[in-house]
Structure formats: structure tokens, C-alpha cells
């Protein structure tokens, strides 16, 4: 009998489909993956340490750069935590603006996730570029409001940095209407594509129990049949006022995760429509001391970021900068399941699974 040996293959830190600088040490038997060991830290920028030397407000830009695709939701999570710590109120209009921005961010993230997934599957750039083209329209809205495309730094404690410009609401409505149409278009292009089905269905099945045990959150969890969404389970901001549904699927494979994202895009658009309809007039910023000194204590607050449950844990010693600044990064924890998902599969499946889990190294390594 022929003797065979396993080989070790280093995927990353520079590899076209690791979504950044993620490294996986694969033990492979031919093309079959026997084991996988993830190695992080290639983008560890020491944010948590850095945050201890800056004031609370100065840390807002740091959160932008964590999950750089969805800066607004990171801002929101941080702002909510500080508001909880310092006991601040947020004006009505600001809450609506926050929700609009957060949901637009969700759309942006899911577009990017779907595009990147297709890119990893080998659809040479086109679906990715379509997704990015639609993303640009939303980035235009962000830019119009806060002046930046990606790293928005828009939210403030007790409100938002600036009121919406006059032309925001009509343009946002236009974008939403266009996106509805365009998501249908994307579905026609991809959802029933036979190759896509063959590549995604039954690949990387994440069982419900494992998902809960590994604290997986976000679309990855919901694709495994757990209807857990922080927006519903513990409503923050004003999410209890909107009518929206949480999609779940029982299959838990890559295709389910893809479908969940599409469904969530539609739900987010629905929320944005409601928020735009009921946007109240008024102030967007409560009276907050310029140099915030929250009382001694600690607080944890969480939101449903597009990638999962994003939480901040802040400890205050009464000073102007946080004593401890910790981020519960959803993607880092979601990656716990990766070795289980890929065992026995092949490299193309691994690539598809990573794409479907939707990781961003800026958040994992911080």
C-alpha cells in the first residue's frame, strides 16, 4: 500500500480570500483539510490599550476603525455604552437618525459580505462590483451627513454630531427604493445559479447546539435556526418601535447564511422606510459636558451589529478616559467554529465558509 503524508499549508496572512491578514495553518491530506488552526493578530493595533490614554470622545474614531465596513454601528455601540455609564439621555430625532444610519450600515455590510463571498467562489469580480456600486449610493448618504465615506465618526454621546442635511431624506428614500429593486436583481443573478447552489448548499453546516455553545451571533447564528437578535431580545435605542421580522433558517450551511443576509437587507430597508416616515423634528444633541467624566463603575452594552452581537465593556474610574475599554468582537467569537466547519472539506469550501461567516480582521484583532 502506498504511504501518504499530510502536508501543512499556510493560508495567509496574505491571501486573496482571507479578507485581510488572517492566517490559517491547514493540515491537509491531499486536498482534504484534516485540521485548521487559525492565527490572528496580524492587525492587532492595540486599540484597547490605546483607548485608556484618550478621552471618551477621542475613542469614537477608534471604534470607526474596528469593523471598518460598518463604522456607524460601532459608533452606536460605543455611544450607547458610554451613555449607559454616564446616564445620558438622547433626543428623539437623534435616536431616529441613529437607527437610520445603523440600518444603512447593515445593508452596506451585507452587500459587501455577499460580494466578497461571490468573489471567493470565483465569480470574477462582477457580483462584488455590483454590490460595491450599490454600496456607493449609501456611502454618498453617509458622506452627505458626516463628511466621511467609511470612518464616519458621526455619533456623539447624547446625540449625533450634526443634523441631517435637508436633501438627505428624499435621497435616502430614493436609495431605499432603488435597493429594493436591486436586491431582486441580485437574487435573479445569484440565488438560483446552479453553480452557486452546488458550491454553497450543504457546505459548512453549523448545528444549532454548536452555534449556541460557541456563542456565535449574527446572521451566522440565525442561519442555524436560532431567532436571536439583540434588536428583538433586548431592544436598544428605539428598536422596539419598529415593525420588523427576524429571519431564520434551519439548514445552517453557507447558502442559508447567504439567504439570511439577503432577507436582512430587505428588513433593514423596511426599518429605514419607517424611520424616515416618522422622523421627528427637534434637537439632535442633548446637553453633555464637553469633557465627559462618567461616575465610577462599569457598564456593558450591546447592539446587533451586522456581524453579530457587538458589545462594549467600559470601566470608569471617574476620570476623563476609560479605565478599561473592551470590545466583544462578534467575528472573533464566530470564528471559533471555523475548524469544526471545515474539517473534511476542501480548500474551495474553506474559502466559501470564511466568506459566508463574514469576517473583518480590524474587529477580530482590534
Amino acid at each position: 500500500m502506498l504511504k501518504t503524508r499530510t502536508i501543512t499549508l499556510n493560508l495567509g496572512p496574505q491571501h486573496p480570500s482571507t479578507h485581510g491578514v488572517f492566517r490559517m495553518v491547514l493540515t491537509m491530506d491531499g486536498e482534504t483539510i484534516v485540521d485548521l488552526k487559525p492565527i490572528f493578530g496580524y492587525l492587532h493595533r492595540g486599540m484597547e490599550k490605546l483607548a485608556e490614554t484618550r478621552t471618551y470622545l477621542q475613542n469614537m474614531p477608534l471604534t470607526d476603525r474596528m469593523d471598518y465596513i460598518c463604522a456607524m454601528t460601532n459608533n452606536l455601540a460605543y455611544a450607547i455604552t458610554v451613555e449607559k455609564l454616564a446616564g445620558l439621555e438622547v433626543p428623539e430625532r437623534a435616536e431616529y437618525i441613529r437607527v437610520i444610519m445603523a440600518e444603512f450600515t447593515r445593508v452596506v455590510n451585507h452587500l459587501v459580505a455577499i460580494g466578497a463571498l461571490l468573489n471567493d467562489l470565483g465569480a470574477f469580480f462582477t457580483p462584488m462590483l455590483y454590490c460595491l456600486r450599490e454600496r456607493e449610493r449609501i456611502l454618498d448618504l453617509f458622506e452627505m451627513t458626516c463628511g466621511a465615506r467609511m470612518t464616519c465618526n458621526y455619533l456623539r454621546f447624547g446625540g449625533v454630531a450634526a443634523d441631517l442635511p435637508e436633501e438627505f431624506v428624499p435621497q435616502a428614500r430614493e436609495v431605499v427604493a432603488g435597493l429594493y429593486y436591486w436586491v431582486d436583481d441580485l437574487e435573479r443573478l445569484l440565488t438560483t445559479n446552479e453553480i452557486l447552489l452546488a458550491r454553497l448548499q450543504g457546505i459548512g453546516i453549523l448545528p444549532r447546539e454548536l452555534a449556541i455553545n460557541c456563542s456565535v451571533t449574527g446572521p451566522t447564528l440565525r442561519a442555524s435556526g436560532v431567532p436571536y437578535d439583540v434588536r428583538r431580545a433586548a431592544p436598544y435605542s428605539i428598536y422596539d418601535r419598529f415593525d420588523f421580522k427576524i429571519p431564520t433558517l434551519d439548514e445552517g450551511d453557507c447558502y442559508a447564511r447567504y439567504l439570511i443576509r439577503l432577507a436582512e437587507i430587505r428588513q433593514s430597508l423596511h426599518i429605514i422606510e419607517q424611520a424616515l416616515d416618522h422622523l421627528p423634528p427637534g434637537e439632535v444633541q442633548a446637553k453633555v459636558p464637553r469633557l465627559l467624566r462618567p461616575p465610577v463603575g462599569d457598564a456593558y452594552a450591546r447592539i446587533e451589529s451586522p456581524k453579530g452581537e457587538l458589545g462594549f465593556y467600559l470601566v470608569s474610574d471617574g476620570g476623563i478616559s476609560p479605565y478599561r475599554f473592551h470590545v466583544r468582537a462578534p467575528t472573533l467569537i464566530n470564528l471559533t467554529v471555523l475548524p469544526d466547519l471545515v474539517r473534511g472539506l476542501r480548500i474551495p469550501d474553506l474559502v466559501a465558509i470564511i466568506g459566508s461567516i463574514d469576517i473583518v480582521m480590524g474587529e477580530i484583532d482590534r
Binding site: 456563542s215 462599569d298 456593558y300 465593556y313 466583544r328 472573533l332
Partner: protein, 164 residues
């Protein structure tokens, strides 16, 4: 089940396990480190707190605080904060990874950045910094080592490019 009921159950089943219930924004229970694992098992299996939200740590001078957030994946759920305090020199806490695989990377991270060892962790390793890095960055008394790996690399790179 309200937070107070949970506390009552814990005190009933594990007398002496609870050290303190401090006043805090979120309901917090400080546990004795060596009782952590059994209490957590009880909370998960009996009280249905099946979702380990996060694991983190705080440097409080001469002792470390390891902070766990526990919740459930059902609607209308709050969460419970468990804290464990360990003295700085030993800094050992039982690992929750056998209970929740989700704790694996978070405990790795705490070990890497704060230097708290988790006993019973299957694969405790530096996750953010490279192996052989000196010091634990999130400790308050951390000073970056100098010269670090990259500086040597830079020097070497220059040396090679000048006279190959």
C-alpha cells in the same frame, strides 16, 4: 427568573461561593475563583443561562478581575455579570472553555493581553502578539519591550540592502 432569584439559587446551592454583590449598573455577582466552574455549570445546565456573551478582564492594581457576561438566546433576556478576582502574582482562573467553546479565543486574548492563566484551557496561546513576546500589554504597568523583534528585522533589512 430575576437576578435576585438567580443569586438566591447560587447561594443556596453553593454556600460561600459568592464573595460580594456590588452595586453596579448591571447585576453583578463576584465569585470565588475556585468555585467558578461549578457555578457556571449550574447556571448553564439548571438555570438556562446557555450563552456566554463575553469574557474580559480588568487590571485593578494588585488584583485582576475576570468578567463574564452570561445570557440566554431567548427574547427579552438580560444578562448576568460574573466577576472573579485573583491576586496578581498567581493570576490563575479556571477556564470556561470546557463549558462554552465560545470562551476559547476570548480566554486566549485575556491570557495574551492581561497575563491571566486559565487552567483547563485546551490550547492557551498568545493570540494577538507573537509567541515569545514579553509582557502583557493591557496590564497597567506594561512598558513595550525595546528593541522589539521588528527593530531587529529593520536593521537586518537595511544591512542587507546596503551591502548585499
Amino acid at each position: 427568573m430575576t437576578d435576585e432569584e438567580i443569586l438566591a439559587r447560587i447561594e443556596e446551592h453553593f454556600p460561600g461561593a459568592v464573595v460580594e454583590v456590588p452595586q453596579a449598573l448591571d447585576f453583578t455577582i463576584v465569585l470565588r475563583a475556585e468555585r467558578l466552574l461549578e457555578v457556571a455549570t449550574y447556571l448553564r445546565d439548571e438555570l438556562g443561562l446557555d450563552y456566554l456573551i463575553s469574557v474580559t478582564s480588568v487590571d485593578r492594581g494588585d488584583e485582576f478581575e475576570v468578567v463574564y457576561h452570561l445570557g440566554t438566546m431567548t427574547d427579552q433576556a438580560g444578562y448576568l455579570v460574573l466577576k472573579v478576582r485573583v491576586l496578581r502574582p498567581s493570576a490563575e482562573v479556571p477556564s470556561l472553555t470546557p463549558l462554552w467553546r465560545g470562551a476559547e479565543f476570548q480566554e486566549d486574548e485575556v491570557y495574551d493581553l492581561m497575563g491571566i492563566r486559565f487552567t483547563g484551557h485546551p490550547n492557551l496561546r498568545r493570540i494577538m502578539m507573537w509567541e515569545g513576546y514579553e509582557g502583557h500589554p493591557l496590564r497597567k504597568d506594561f512598558r513595550p519591550p525595546y528593541p522589539i523583534e521588528t527593530d531587529r528585522l529593520i536593521a537586518q533589512s537595511y544591512a542587507e540592502s546596503e551591502n548585499p
